[in-house]
Amino acid sequence: MSMFNRNDNKETDVSAPDKPRDVTSASVAAMPKPVQPAAAPAPDLSAAKSAGPSVISKALKITGQLESTEDIRIDGEIEGDIHGVAVTVGSGAKVKGSVYGQTVELAGTIEGKIEAKKVILTSTAHMSGDVIHQDIRIESGAYIDGHCRPGTNKTEYKPTVKPN
C-alpha cells in the first residue's frame, strides 16, 4: 500500500498504530469524519446567509470604496465612495465621500455628496454637501449645508471593480 494514498475510507484504521509520539492522532481517531473547528463554534453559514443586505455595523470603519448591487445599511464609519441600490445611513453613522444609489436614506452624517433618484433626509440627518436627486424628502430637524438640485438621469450604477 502506498503511503501517499488519500485514505478516504479507512483513515481511522491507519492513524492509530504507527504514530507513537503523536498526541493528536488519538483525538483524530476518536473524532473520525466530520472535522469540527475546535477553537470557535462554527457559525451557521447556510446559503441563505450569503444573500440579503450588507450591514456595516457601528464597530466597523472602512477606508475605501464600496460597491454593491444590493442594499447597504451603514451604522459605522466610512471614508470613501459608496455605490448601492438602497443605501441607508443610520443615525450615528459617518460617511466622508459620495453616496450613489437608487434610494438614499440619511439619518446620520454625510460629508460629501448624495446622488440618488430618491433621497430622504430624516430629522437626525446631517448633510454637508450637495444633494442631486429626482425626488427628495426633508424632515423637520434635518441639517443640510449644500445645494439640492434635481439630477440628470445618469444615476445608473456602473461597477468599476471587477468581481474576482
Binding site: P37, S50, A51, A59, V161
Partner: protein, 115 residues
C-alpha cells in the same frame, strides 16, 4: 456584527471591534475581533484578528490567535497562528508559523512585512 453580502465589493481597509462576515469581495487590510469569510467570499489582503474562520478564499496573510479553515477554504499566503484547525479538503498553499499568544497581544500593525 457586520455582514458583507455576496453582492458587495470593497476596495480598502476595514477596521472593526466586533465580528465581520465576508461573503463578497474585499481587497484590503482587515483588523477585526473575529473574521468569517463565508462560502463564496474572497479576500485579497492581510488580516489581523483574534479569531479567523474561513470557508471561502483568501490571498494574503493571517495574523490570528485562533484560525479555523473549513473544508471549502482556499488559502494562499501565510498563517501566523497560535492554534489552528484545518478541515479535510481545505486547499492551503501557505506557510503556517506558530507564535506565542504574547505575539498577538501587541499586534496592531503588520509586523513581519517581508514577504
Amino acid at each position: 456584527m457586520s455582514h458583507l453580502s455576496k453582492a458587495i465589493t470593497i476596495n480598502g481597509d476595514l477596521e472593526s471591534d466586533g465580528e465581520l462576515q465576508i461573503y463578497g469581495n474585499v481587497r484590503g487590510q482587515i483588523c477585526a475581533d473575529r473574521l468569517v469569510i463565508g462560502p463564496g467570499g474572497f479576500l485579497e489582503g492581510d488580516v489581523i484578528a483574534r479569531d479567523v474562520h474561513i470557508e471561502g478564499r483568501l490571498e494574503g496573510r493571517i495574523f490570528a490567535l485562533n484560525v479555523t479553515l473549513d473544508s471549502a477554504a482556499e488559502v494562499n499566503g501565510r498563517i501566523f497562528h497560535n492554534t489552528i484547525t484545518v478541515a479535510k479538503g481545505a486547499r492551503i498553499d501557505a506557510r503556517m508559523p506558530w507564535r506565542p499568544p504574547s505575539y498577538f497581544e501587541t499586534l496592531e500593525t503588520l509586523p513581519e512585512a517581508r514577504q
